[in-house]
């Protein structure tokens, strides 16, 4: 009897450990699936002209009922995603700041949002322009591009997301043009 109870307890421990491992793995697996979809779509959209799938800005079309890349997208935002790997080289992220809400945010491989910077926090440079200008790296850097701010990523791989609000339909053409200027390049 005692032996059977011991075995049942061991089976319960195996089930509990398996449950916790699946829960811990779920965000990373879902993130891997979504980034795979993003890079696949980017490659398809470039028609083979694009040589790399990571560390590059993917400008998503405005979300509608056909959008299936990421759950619960906002139809009132334009999204630009950069799937990054900063294990070897930092990533330089740039983009103009519109008059309405916009943000630049970073997500670790476990999907934690480790930084967010919105338009209100971006000041104008000497020429009066406002730009997102961030260098994403794993460790502090000796030198940064002029005007750029350093953000340290807790994981080598992850995702950077631009969100650009569409406050009204009349602004959409200008915001789509602005979206095309949102860029990610290895430094």
């Amino acid at each position: 009897m005692k032996r059977w109870l011991g075995r049942l307890a061991m089976l319960a421990c195996i089930a509990a450990a398996s449950n916790v491992l699946a829960v811990l793995a779920a965000p990373r697996l879902i993130h891997a699936l979504v980034t795979h979809r993003i890079t696949t779509q980017a490659l398809a959209a470039s028609g083979g002209a694009q040589s790399r799938t990571g560390d590059i800005a993917v400008h998503a079309p405005r979300a509608d009922a056909s959008a299936r890349t990421v759950v619960r997208p906002s139809p009132d935002l334009l999204y630009t995603a950069c799937v990054f790997d900063v294990s070897r080289r930092p990533l330089h992220i740039t983009g103009p700041v519109p008059d309405s809400y916009a943000s630049l945010s970073g997500f670790a491989a476990n999907t934690d949002n480790f930084f967010a910077l919105n338009d209100a926090a971006v000041t104008a440079d000497a020429s009066g322009r406002r730009r997102f200008d961030v260098v994403l790296a794993r460790a502090p850097l000796a030198q940064l591009p002029p005007g750029a701010r350093l953000v340290l990523s807790p994981t080598a791989r992850g995702l950077v997301l631009f969100r650009t609000l569409i406050p009204d339909e009349a602004t959409l053409p200008a915001l789509l043009a602005l979206q095309q200027q949102q860029a990610c390049e290895p430094l």
Partner: protein, 195 residues
């Protein structure tokens, strides 16, 4: 049973336990995330969304139903699967979502199907937000959520006869709202008629 038979049976039981544990992850994520959710009328949210302080079940729940959500410093996401009476939202009914504009720099109400994606409709309307909603004399807005347009309020198309949910996005929420999400003044969701 021979010793080898017992070992085989034990290995099969251990494998079944491991598979059962893994398969129970999804309901466990949902149950524990709901247990830790903040409720405000029909709306629920998680204070730890996007945060490194989220527990593994909260993190997994966000990954399943709202991956890449911003942390509370930047945005707050409330989701409603029921109306004010606690009845699940359904495209068989019409609803009036109304109230004072939430205290945030920008806000919107978006409708999603049971699969967490936007719902196809001829009007191609998937959300209502502060930029396309009129306020009445009291400074309140009203949205008509239904499969077909009902009246004068702004229409947000629902899937006919199918379940759906609403997400209220608040970008740059007022500090007082973000401090006490359970007490924030949020829109009511009143069921008006069902077919």
């Amino acid at each position: 049973m021979s010793p080898w038979g017992r070992r085989l049976a034990w290995a099969a039981a251990a494998l079944a336990a491991a598979i059962g544990g893994a398969l129970s992850a999804r309901p466990a994520i949902q149950a524990l995330a709901e247990h830790g959710a903040i409720r405000n009328g029909p709306w629920t949210t998680m204070a730890a969304t996007g945060s490194a302080h989220a527990n593994p079940y909260e993190r997994a729940a966000v990954a399943v139903a709202g991956i890449y959500a911003l942390s509370q410093d930047e945005a707050v996401y409330f989701t409603a699967f029921t109306d004010d009476s606690g009845t699940p939202l359904s495209g068989s009914c019409a609803y009036r979502v109304h109230g004072a504009p939430p205290a945030a720099r920008w806000w919107s109400v978006t409708l999603y199907g049971a699969d967490h994606f936007l719902v196809a409709n001829d009007a191609r309307i998937h959300s209502r937000h502060q930029g396309n909603l009129a306020l009445d004399a009291d400074g309140h807005f009203a949205i008509e959520v239904a499969a077909q347009p009902q009246g004068a309020d702004a229409w947000l198309p629902a899937p006919a006869g199918a379940p759906f949910s609403l997400t209220l996005r608040l970008y740059n929420p007022a500090p007082a709202l973000a401090r006490d999400l359970a007490a924030a003044e949020l829109p009511a969701i009143e069921r008006s008629a069902c077919r």
